[in-house]
């Protein structure tokens, strides 16, 4: 039996609805195809040598921990995959996403395969590394949640849904989902932008009432200000899975506006599939993201109103079965699981990546975390505090602080890894808490270049950013001279800190 371990950043993520939808629905059908799927957090997972066939799939672990782990796995001959289901990599003109792009670019050479939720995402990924084998794994549709599983029922009233208010001249609508995103206007923003089309129901004699089911964080002042300007009554509710199920089973139609930015165009069909599976009619506007489902959906208010009045809506259990049957690779868990299992089996046998150096170092930058430090130390690699590392951590290599002697401090582990000629020149010193450290003058390592290092002091972001490339480059230079062949990854989450060509291999490295 093949094992596939999905690696997620933390426990909250592991419990999230997204993880349950994407991986939870695949676990059982994958097992039937001979693949056992487990979801584990990166700090808990044991990256041992592969026992039998075992692949790791990194999901959203956008920091240097994933790079270090992937490096070690490749050295051990284990297949390393990258799961991409949101497009944070194609916005080349957006400096806020430098960390995401540089992480992906650092991860791609280490990956042996990729899993993409949509074709648009696969295209975006292949722009960075065209030869990477990538399989399409759509978010599977939920099990049918339609209350009356009677496949031949034509009318919604007969399918167990509560009586609709259509006859009384009202229409019960819903918008649901995560309402915000740290980078892009989505969610509630789309609803506010496209919502006015729902006022068109009035012209058909139906008074719209919209339930908005979303996360509290999304309901900021500006978001609420936009929503209260919608020309009909809205009702806000805190999102929960139960409430979503209840509302979807009640409403006449679900409204799914889609905007046309790359991030939104690369989204999966998940929201529409969820609404359809609940037996609700779906009205979509904007970018034709759900075109594959067009036989089940509405794009026109008038058509939807007429069909609801006539009792002949498009989303019936029978028609849904037919449409989804023809779109099995986009929705059916069994088919998707089979695609994935076939893909994993077809990967070339894992070979130990001999061209990767044995030694790994992670250089901390502005936006590094203690988690990364701990993780790197746990894997037996070197945690390197460069001139921009602000956390008081026990690094294996510590850059001299501004104003201090221009010496590098090395830990015992770093001493053992140093090249023999340098090791002989290390002088023992006592570090914090009486810990044994070793020092070596920066000039002994870098030669004349040590005299010309940029100063990293000063709180001004502009100065620090200007010094960043040369500062981190100098660290890379010194570390490579000290240790010989070493893979260097940058621990950086701060935009837009990145360094020039020839520097590090991780986030923060050159685009």
């Amino acid at each position: 039996m093949m094992r596939l371990t999905v690696v997620v950043p933390d426990d909250a993520h592991r419990r999230s609805a997204g993880v349950r939808i994407r991986y939870g629905r695949l676990a059982a059908p994958l097992a039937a195809k001979g693949v056992s799927l487990a979801v584990e957090t990166i700090d808990q997972v044991v990256f041992g040598a592969a026992e039998g066939a075992h692949a790791f799939l990194f999901s959203k672990c956008l920091d240097a921990r994933a790079l270090a782990a992937a490096h070690g796995l490749r050295r051990a001959g284990v297949p390393v995959g990258l799961d991409v289901f949101d497009d944070y990599i194609s916005q080349d003109d957006d400096s806020r996403l430098v960390p995401s792009r540089t992480w992906t670019r650092a991860m791609l050479p280490l990956a042996t395969f990729a899993v993409c939720s949509t074709a648009a995402i696969r295209t975006a990924l292949h722009a960075h590394r065209p030869d990477l084998p990538a399989v399409l794994v759509a978010d599977p549709a939920p099990e049918r949640t339609d209350p009356a599983p009677e496949p031949t029922d034509p009318a919604p009233a007969a399918s167990g849904r509560p009586a609709s208010a259509i006859g009384d001249g009202a229409i019960d609508l819903c918008w649901f989902g995560i309402g915000d995103n740290p980078f892009f206007p989505v969610g509630v923003h789309d609803l506010a932008a496209f919502g006015p089309v729902l006022a068109g129901f009035r012209a058909r004699g139906l008074e719209p009432a919209l339930t908005v089911l979303t996360n509290r964080r999304a309901l900021t002042g500006p978001a609420l200000a936009a929503l209260v300007r919608l020309p009909f009554a809205i009702r806000l509710e805190d999102w929960s899975e139960d409430r979503q199920a209840r509302v979807l089973s009640r409403v006449d139609a679900v409204f799914l506006p889609v905007n046309g930015q790359p991030f939104s165009r690369a989204k999966s069909l998940n929201r529409a599939l969820t609404a359809l599976a609940a037996g609700a009619q779906v009205l979509t506007t904007g970018h034709p993201l759900y075109a594959d489902l067009s036989d089940l959906l509405y794009t026109d208010v008038g058509r939807l109103a007429a069909d609801l009045r006539a009792g002949t809506p498009r989303n019936t259990a029978e028609r849904r079965a037919r449409v989804l049957g023809s779109l099995a690779h986009l929705a059916d868990p069994d088919t998707i699981a089979a695609d994935l299992a076939r893909f994993l089996a077809s990967l070339p046998p894992a070979d130990a990546a001999g061209d990767l150096p044995d030694l790994v170092g992670v250089v901390h930058g502005h936006g590094s975390t203690g988690q990364v430090h701990k993780f790197v130390r746990k894997l037996g690699y070197l945690s390197i505090g460069g001139p921009f590392a602000h956390l008081p951590l026990a690094f294996d290599v510590t850059w001299p602080a501004p104003g201090a002697d221009p010496d590098l401090r090395l830990s015992e582990r770093a001493r053992a890894a140093a090249r023999a000629d340098f090791r002989a020149r290390l002088m023992p010193v006592e570090g914090d808490g009486g810990k044994r450290l070793y020092r070596i003058a920066l000039a002994d390592v870098l030669g004349d270049a040590a005299a010309d290092l940029p100063s990293a002091v000063g709180p001004e972001q502009s100065v620090r950013l200007a010094a960043y490339g040369r500062g981190q480059g100098a660290v890379a230079d010194a570390v490579r001279r000290l240790f010989g062949p070493i893979a260097l990854y940058a621990a950086e989450t701060t935009a837009p800190a990145w360094i020039g060509p020839g520097g590090l291999d991780g986030p923060g490295a050159a685009p």
Partner: protein, 400 residues
């Protein structure tokens, strides 16, 4: 039909002074739920809890529901599904007003949103040079209706885009009556008001020290004559209290809400440019306006009142206040007439009643049960002021 709500937004401490008369008006004259919506920054600003007690008392007096809000969502949760009127004592697109500004933005469309001019010189309505330096010239409002004190042409800071929102009501302060039974500190001589926290004292120079130096010298001179003076800190600024400024022994502190202070009992009033100058003028006591000696501070909007700077000016003013108050008061009457403020309490009441009725009931005024009285006690309306106001503002009509 659902019972309408009249919702009052409290954010700055001085909002209580501004809104309190309207809370009573709304409760007395309208068939509506009264709601007090208090920002969490109000409670954190109110270190002595004085104003929270005032709000609690107000809520009991008018049987109002009180909610404290932190986010726009909290505001929305209170207003959702209701209709009526939302009034703010201070609101604009400036950061200091963002709580009330965003509250107005998220109010459902069933609410008529109203912002009051909250001082004589007030951002977005009538600004001085220090306001302009600190806040710019394009202050705007989220409200549908903004209530000004005087005719549009006097409100020189009103941005063109906001002019159609203007409804001239006059200040709510003229509706305040001292509460029966309130115990003010003993009245000693005149009253000096400080607003040293204000941008006036910072924007164009450091004017605080010269004011306090002159005040201390003034107190020393009074003390040598066996006299005292009352000092009143600005309700929001509280500069001398927050900074623990040592005061001469012949100074009595008066920190009561302005509606509990009977300014008429004082022999004279002195203040740097501030709305309290108008309060003292309306109270009919001789009033002087302090300005820095070099004349850098912009006091244009107070031109016509007695200006004082040096100690000699203070003493000369106090002497005049005693021996020829009529001359000073006549000057003040001319000033009020020239700035065109609607100051007749009956007229101000009538205008607010119309506005609130509009918000509660739409265009009809049916909700006003006890209509504004034309036979208000004569002492409420100094005849000359009333006539001047009528001429100046052209009887602002209620908004459509």
């Amino acid at each position: 039909m659902m019972r309408p709500a009249i919702v009052f937004l409290f954010n700055l401490l001085q909002d209580v002074n501004i809104l309190r008369p309207l809370v009573f008006l709304a409760a007395r004259d309208c068939d509506a739920d009264i709601v007090l919506l208090v920002s969490h920054t109000f409670t954190s600003r109110d270190r002595t809890a004085l104003w929270q007690r005032e709000l609690a008392r107000l809520a009991v007096d008018v049987d109002a529901a009180t909610h404290v809000f932190e986010t726009s969502l909290d505001v929305y949760a209170v207003l959702e599904g209701r209709r009526g009127l939302l009034l703010a004592g201070s609101e604009s697109d400036l950061f200091g007003h963002h709580e009330t500004h965003s509250a107005m933005q998220v109010a459902p469309s069933g609410f008529l949103k109203v912002t009051l001019q909250h001082g004589y010189e007030c951002v977005g309505f009538l600004q001085n040079q220090e306001h302009v330096l600190s806040h710019g010239r394009t202050v705007t409002f989220a409200a549908d209706v903004i209530c000004g004190w005087s005719a549009p042409h006097r409100l020189t800071a009103l941005v063109a885009s906001q002019r159609p929102k203007l409804y001239v009501t006059g200040p709510t302060a003229v509706l305040n009556r001292p509460r029966p039974g309130a115990v003010p500190p003993p009245v000693v001589g005149g009253i000096v008001c400080e607003n040293l926290h204000s941008v006036r004292f910072r924007a164009a120079g450091a004017f605080g020290p010269p004011f306090m130096d002159t005040f201390n010298a003034f107190c020393a001179t009074l003390a040598s004559a066996g006299q005292g003076v009352t000092l009143r800190p600005h309700p929001g600024g509280q500069y001398v209290i927050k900074n623990k400024i040592a005061l001469p022994p012949n100074v009595t502190l008066n920190n009561l809400p302005i509606y509990d202070v009977d300014l008429r009992a004082y022999a004279y009033g002195i203040s740097a440019p501030s709305t309290v100058v108008l309060d003292m003028v309306f109270a009919g006591i001789p009033t002087a306006v302090w300005r820095d000696e070099a004349g850098v501070m912009d006091t244009t909007n107070y031109e016509g009142l007695t200006p004082i700077s040096r100690l000699a000016d203070w003493l000369a003013f106090v002497r005049d206040a005693v021996i020829r108050p009529d001359a000073l008061l006549e000057r003040q009457r001319a000033f009020v007439a020239s700035c065109g403020i609607v100051a007749d309490p009956a007229e101000v009441h009538r205008r607010f009643a119309r506005l609130i009725a509009c918000g509660v009931d739409g265009p009809s005024v049916g909700a006003v049960r006890a209509g504004p009285r034309d036979d208000a006690p004569a002492s409420f309306r100094p005849p000359s002021l009333q006539a001047a106001a009528r001429d100046a503002d052209g009887r602002g009509a209620p908004p459509p």
